[in-house]
């Protein structure tokens, strides 16, 4: 028998993924023995798993590990993003239990699915092979389709799951076709090998196959990060999905999409920079403008946050177009603070709703500030941060994204970004107007803050305020994680 020489595996490179997937599988087994009113324990177990994984992420900082013959590369860039994914997964799990119990769909499969989705995101962030990135994306997407439709008795949730599935599968086709063309043009799927092939054979924008492959990949990734004009699925899915899962999928997958997007484009196709920067310039402007203008008209707060998340993808694209160290560090910093502020806002939305009545309209927040001042202050902090008003982290993030663009010479792009950001203040502040300047219609007496959600809010507020006031440490980390 001919023995196959095993490749250099190096488990250190996929340590976080390994831990998470093992815990997810263990939870699936444990789930069978847990009675349905005690499914929260699965949540605690998965939180423990996330914390352990977080420590391995911290432990891996500064020592890049390559594994599986160059299929994955766990560098600082990947580690920073893994941190973001873990934070978003942990915060979403914290708000899940109360919501799921209220809506009577607290099935234990929720937690393994979240963990496996996180695992997929991690593989996207550290994948240095188009195959790894693609499979990570699929792992993430398939979990999210299920999570979006997790409320099985709710028609809206079913619709969200189905829509997300159909459009997600469609966009996957684009991505895969693009990857296939890139493979055809270069003969390899390893990102580093693509880069060196393109450089050695001086294939530039004149090579149509490479170019179309690049454009199709951009389309595929744009679907995943919900950039206009590929954003159509976002509002329906965000509105219909269970709120904690909306929180999760508005942050984690977006960050993962950006991680893979940046790695593929910056490392594999630097010679096509001029071409893709133009393309993304247009995408960024469209995304910001469409997202913000449509958000102005939304009555439903979940839909509003959906459009706002489209707009935020646009801001992050500005940093991507800039392509310099400041811009890329800005992307990472921004995605991290976006995780805190967005999931924080969704936590409040979870609290305001009650069974059967999601209370998702902006009018439902009338007088919320008088009945629950502390929660309203938290919500205001998140909204300020989303609008990009100092001293919140959102401001610092935007500042770096736009200053990266200015340094790279994209002054108009930065100006459009700032204008958009100013326009967005309107719809964020409208919620606050309702909270503080309208008389309360409801008593909000059903509202009960479980310890888990309180913990989530505390972490989120800290995550928004501390980097907002003293951004130095986190920015330094982000700068160390830059790929360039």
């Amino acid at each position: 028998m001919e023995t196959i020489a095993m490749p250099a595996i190096n488990f250190a490179a996929i340590m976080p993924e390994t831990i998470l997937s093992v815990i997810a599988m263990a939870l699936l087994l444990i789930n069978v023995f847990v009675p349905s009113e005690q499914k929260a324990y699965l949540g605690y177990l998965s939180l423990i798993g996330i914390v352990v994984t977080f420590f391995t992420v911290i432990g891996g900082w500064g020592t890049p590990q390559e594994g599986f013959n160059g299929s994955v590369m766990q560098d600082n860039f990947a580690l920073f993003f893994k941190g973001i994914f873990l934070v978003s997964a942990a915060l979403s799990i914290l708000i899940s239990d109360q919501y799921m119990k209220r809506e009577e769909c607290n099935h234990g499969e929720l937690y393994p699915l979240i963990l496996l989705a996180t695992c997929g995101m991690m593989l996207m962030a550290s994948g240095t092979d188009l195959m790894t990135i693609f499979l990570g994306l699929e792992l993430l997407s398939v979990s999210l389709y299920v999570l979006a439709g997790f409320q099985r008795d709710s028609l809206k949730s079913n619709e969200a799951g189905l829509k997300y599935f159909l459009l997600g599968a469609f966009s996957t086709g684009f991505l895969l076709y693009g990857m296939a063309l890139i493979y055809g043009a270069t003969g390899t799927t390893r990102i580093a090998a693509i880069a060196s092939y393109v450089a050695q054979n001086s294939l530039a924008g004149s090579n149509l196959m490479l170019l179309i492959g690049m454009v199709l990949m951009a389309v595929g990734f744009s679907f995943k990060i919900a950039a206009a004009p590929f954003h159509m699925w976002t509002p329906d899915v965000y509105e219909g999905a269970p709120t904690p899962m909306t929180a999760f999928m508005s942050v984690g997958p977006k960050a993962a999409g950006f991680a893979a997007f940046v790695r593929v484009f910056v490392i594999a196709l630097p010679t096509l920079r001029a071409d893709w920067a133009d393309l993304l310039w247009v995408l960024a402007v469209l995304t910001m403008t469409v997202g913000n203008i449509t958000a102005l008209y939304q009555k439903n707060i979940k839909r509003m946050l959906a459009y706002s998340s489209i707009a935020h993808a646009g801001y992050v694209l500005v940093g991507f177009v800039a392509g310099n160290a400041v811009g890329t560090a800005g992307i990472m910093f921004y995605m991290l603070s976006y995780a805190f502020m967005n999931i924080g806002a969704f936590a409040i939305i979870v609290l305001v709703g009650k069974k059967g009545e999601p209370n998702n309209n902006v009018e439902d927040y009338a007088g919320f500030g008088f009945k629950h001042p502390l929660l309203a202050v938290c919500m205001s902090i998140f909204l300020f941060s989303l609008a990009g008003i100092p001293p919140a982290a959102g401001f610092i993030g935007k500042f770096y994204l736009f200053s990266g663009a200015i340094q790279a010479g994209y002054i108009w792009l930065a100006i459009i970004g700032v204008l958009n950001s100013a326009a967005s203040v309107y719809y964020y502040l409208r919620v606050m107007v309702f909270m503080y300047m309208k008389d309360p219609v409801e008593e909000f007496d059903w509202l009960k803050v479980s310890p888990a959600i309180a913990l989530c809010l505390i972490i989120a507020v800290a995550g928004v305020l501390i980097p907002g006031i003293v951004p130095g440490y986190l920015l330094e980390l982000a700068q160390k994680a830059v790929l360039l």
């Binding site: 490749p7 299929s71 699915l113 299920v146």
Partner: protein, 168 residues
């Protein structure tokens, strides 16, 4: 000569049955045409010295997956489609289709296929064996993607149960 004639026949059948998949009004007939298309694709694999792929194509796609699709169509008793499809959708999809066709023809012009050639040519495949080559690639170069696939399938199974089982 004989081989290219054979190819042309199979290719014609593949294209025709592919068109039938989308033009048949009856879902079962569409599914049958799709099976035929898969068979033609399997034949292409054989002609490209990839017998393993051909067998897997037939077992997995033409066999298992299509039986499930036919099963579901029969179980739901989907009737023949009666309402007309909107014309602009047909127009847009034909434009996209023509574009992809053009693109394919353009790229298959040898000059624009720039990628480096790998080790595997038909002589190599014949001497080592196609199954052996695929097995080796799966367990060395593509070990990680192979393992991720298992997670992916696990998620799909769990997801199917979560979404559809009557009582969980």
């Amino acid at each position: 000569m004989l081989e290219s004639l054979f190819f042309l026949i199979v290719a014609a059948v593949a294209v025709l049955s592919g068109i039938l998949v989308i033009t048949c009004k009856n879902p079962i007939n569409s599914a049958l045409s799709l099976i035929l298309t898969f068979f033609c694709v399997a034949t292409f694999y054989v002609m490209l010295e990839a017998p393993f792929m051909a067998a897997v194509q037939v077992i997995v796609y033409a066999g298992a997956i299509m039986v499930l699709i036919v099963f579901v169509i029969m179980l739901l008793n989907i009737k023949t489609e009666t309402d007309k499809r909107t014309s602009h959708a047909v127009l847009i999809s034909s434009i996209i289709g023509l574009f992809v066709l053009f693109e394919t023809i353009y790229f298959l012009n040898r000059s624009s296929l720039t990628g480096s050639k790998g080790l595997m040519d038909s002589a190599m495949i014949k001497s080592v064996g196609h199954t052996e080559i695929i097995g080796k690639a799966l367990f060395t170069d593509f070990l990680l993607p192979f393992e991720i696939t298992s997670l992916l399938l696990l998620v799909a199974i769990v997801g199917a149960v979560v979404v559809s089982k009557r009582k969980i």
